[in-house]
Point group: C2
Chain length 442, copies 2
């Protein structure tokens, strides 16, 4: 384990700083922007996630002796650059979408204003966090809609890198999941945790009944018993016999859930356990969750599909230089020219345009100058970090709770077609309003 | 950052331990097995990755005051279990496939022998590491074959969680990639690092030429210049003018590479830069890499597709109790009964069966007793950890280097159809040989 986040970085960021220091261009004031050219395939909207933990990681981005030694030993940068890195602390300003906010193609999610060298060093860290966390949150949000109010638990830690698992639990919670199986996410981010037993626990004991008795003795009759290790109907009977009328829930982790859930509900009712709930956890995604809406299921546990972004494991965000000063201190908008990767230069001011009834009609991006105050809509940018210090409102468990609320509020503004699961166009068009002609220089 | 790996765990593992301690069953000797029921869709073989770093994480799996306090405060386990966890240190034995070894459906990749409680606690950590790292290695290995000897660099850190990025770089290197952009992977695992500059560096400067001069001044003429920020042909001309005949390489990150690579090669040759190489980095996967084999490309940089497992971001491995002792100390093979998740109980002894000419013919798994010594083939299990102490041969950068060799050696045994990119059946059938009737108890 390494405490510093400074080497969570692509080598070319350091070689660019090295060359820029040598050329005397490293200190030019610059504006970098993180955005996605498109949403993950077929999605109607995206959910910004990762911002709060990113701010904390940026504050921890320092080159200490161990990192400098590695860079020196492998001759990755020159001696003057090593000195500069030793004193590095991001001292710029970060503006952006609040965590939990929705985004659309080209929404300027994060804007970093600093010297070129300070800003370019953060590229990989910013993209790793936003790309992964937003991939999870975007998928999770669709699952939450598909579940129509029934609670969802994230239990996919085993299907993603062991530390990504924490971020996934956090992102799914922001997107409306009720809980996670991941204990570290509980400790670090205040996400409620859940979980009782796996098939191994049943098989450890000589009979299913013995296993259920052991579990109820430890966790009380309100626990959730996993009833599909051997025969489901017998498992349910045993569960009710052991835990009685107070049995909290039974869990089904295999089989044809569409028919099984109704059969188990009928059996529980017949046994007098009308208050015992049914939770299902068998390779669910937004489509199977939606299909199960017709059954008497009470809650869902979701693994692989949520932590891998349900087919889109990376959000495709990029981090681009959009403006910089020249030697005279004049601002110059810059943009890459290649056809499919063209970028829109200049500082952006995004607004979620709203109809009179409060329904979003477009993502309007003012380029160069701020939106006129008469525009009907919601300004999307807020200050996240000033002079290298994160606004504490956005960090820690409190930031997670706020992000969860933000997503719920922002979602209410969307038109109904945004909630279709079928692949389609983004729910809102992205509209540019140029306040000044954007200059491209070479 | 948290140093202990003990909360990288699903809550149900702790509640199972809690219930088992209360029932007095936690100390039953048990055998857990990690395996994949199938390969990722359409793949011909899998590559085991993550083992070495997993062994290190298991050694660091301890509950310290901070973890115990969280568990106590949230009443996740009872007081006797807290005491037991305070003294926890995995003291069992782990046997398995060497890292870099190939695997097939149901290959018993990792076998954990310990008390039930000691072994069940590691489920999430083991699966997180093996599932992610093997997903990357399996995809990377196909890319390496598709590149037909041309070197590949992994540069996808920005497309996966910031710590998964380190694991991805490590796994891709094990699977035959030549280098990574990720500096932490260089420091921690000894993976060679690479990278020079992004489009932002060109756009920081007033002209492309100025940017190239700055880069060559810092990194020497042997550097790689990114020539597609504005116009490729002009970029190549400028690059050669600035760096001269010693220009190391030009990088293309956009456009139709199939035609562009040949045009740039012709231009470089015409300018007298016959030794200047061409590297391409535009959203490549195994299929585009294979298509580019017909062009004069010299090396590839791969991002998103390799770190997200090229369509299969999790390998689908599971961790199952396969045998345990009863109160009398008798071993009992156990298995879940539900149809699609049925498991094969009992301790396994896998052999890569080989023909007389050394070509693999099947993955033969002896159940219950070891393979007879006369079987022609290679024993696949080796001891990885004894009494909770990892065999140092498998850990650290040295373990990574050995794993890289292991994959190369194992790959040479495969029949030619294993290297087809098209979706198909596993290259080897998995064959079970039961040495004893497997008993299932309930």
């Amino acid at each position: 384990m390494t405490a510093s986040t400074a080497l969570l970085t692509d080598r070319y960021e350091l070689t660019m700083v090295d060359a820029a220091i040598r050329a005397g261009t490293h200190d030019r004031r610059s504006v970098f922007e993180a955005f996605g050219r498109s949403l993950p395939a077929g999605r109607r909207y995206g959910v910004v996630a990762g911002t709060g933990r990113l701010l904390e990681l940026i504050e921890g981005f320092r080159f200490q002796d161990a990192e400098l030694e590695f860079l020196s030993e492998h001759r990755i940068v020159s001696a003057p650059t090593l000195d500069w890195l030793a004193g590095y602390r991001f001292s710029g300003t970060i503006t952006g979408y609040r965590e939990g906010e929705l985004y659309f193609p080209n929404s300027p999610i994060l804007v970093v204003e600093s010297s070129f060298a300070e800003g370019v060093l953060l590229e990989t860290l910013i993209l790793s966090v936003l790309n992964y966390d937003s991939a999870v949150a975007g998928a999770a949000s669709r699952m939450v809609s598909a579940a129509r109010g029934r609670p969802l638990a994230e239990m996919g830690s085993r299907r993603t890198g062991e530390r990504s698992a924490i971020a996934a639990a956090r992102a799914a919670y922001i997107a409306g999941f009720a809980a996670t199986s991941n204990l570290e996410a509980g400790r670090t981010w205040g996400v409620p945790t859940m979980g009782t037993a796996a098939h191994a626990f049943t098989m450890l004991h000589d009979t299913e009944e013995e296993a259920f008795r052991a579990q109820v003795a430890a966790l009380g009759p309100g626990t959730t018993l996993l009833v599909d290790t051997y025969d489901v109907a017998e498992g349910v009977r045993t569960a009710v016999r052991v835990a009685g009328p107070e049995l909290g829930a039974v869990r089904l982790d295999s089989g044809d859930l569409l028919t099984l859930v109704s059969a188990v509900r009928a059996q529980l009712d017949e046994l007098g356990n009308r208050d015992t709930k049914i939770t299902v956890t068998n390779d669910l995604d937004e489509y199977t969750i939606a299909a199960l809406a017709a059954t008497p299921v009470d809650s869902y546990g979701v693994g692989t599909s949520v932590v891998t972004g349900s087919g889109s494991p990376a959000s495709g965000m990029v981090y681009k230089l959009v403006a910089r000063q020249d030697n005279a201190g004049e601002w110059i908008s810059v943009a890459k020219k290649s056809p499919e990767k063209a970028t829109h230069g200049g500082r952006k001011h995004p607004v979620r345009a709203l109809s009179a009834s409060g329904i979003a009609t477009s993502e309007t991006i003012y380029v160069g100058a701020a939106a006129p105050s008469v525009v009907p809509g919601r300004m999307l940018h807020t200050r996240l970090m000033t002079d290298g210090v994160a606004d504490a409102v956005f960090t820690g468990p409190h930031g997670v709770a706020s992000a969860r609320e933000r997503r719920a509020i922002a979602l209410r503004e969307l038109p109904p077609e945004a909630f279709r699961l079928a692949a389609g166009e983004p729910a809102l068009p992205t509209v540019y309003v140029d306040a000044e002609p954007s200059a491209t220089r070479r």
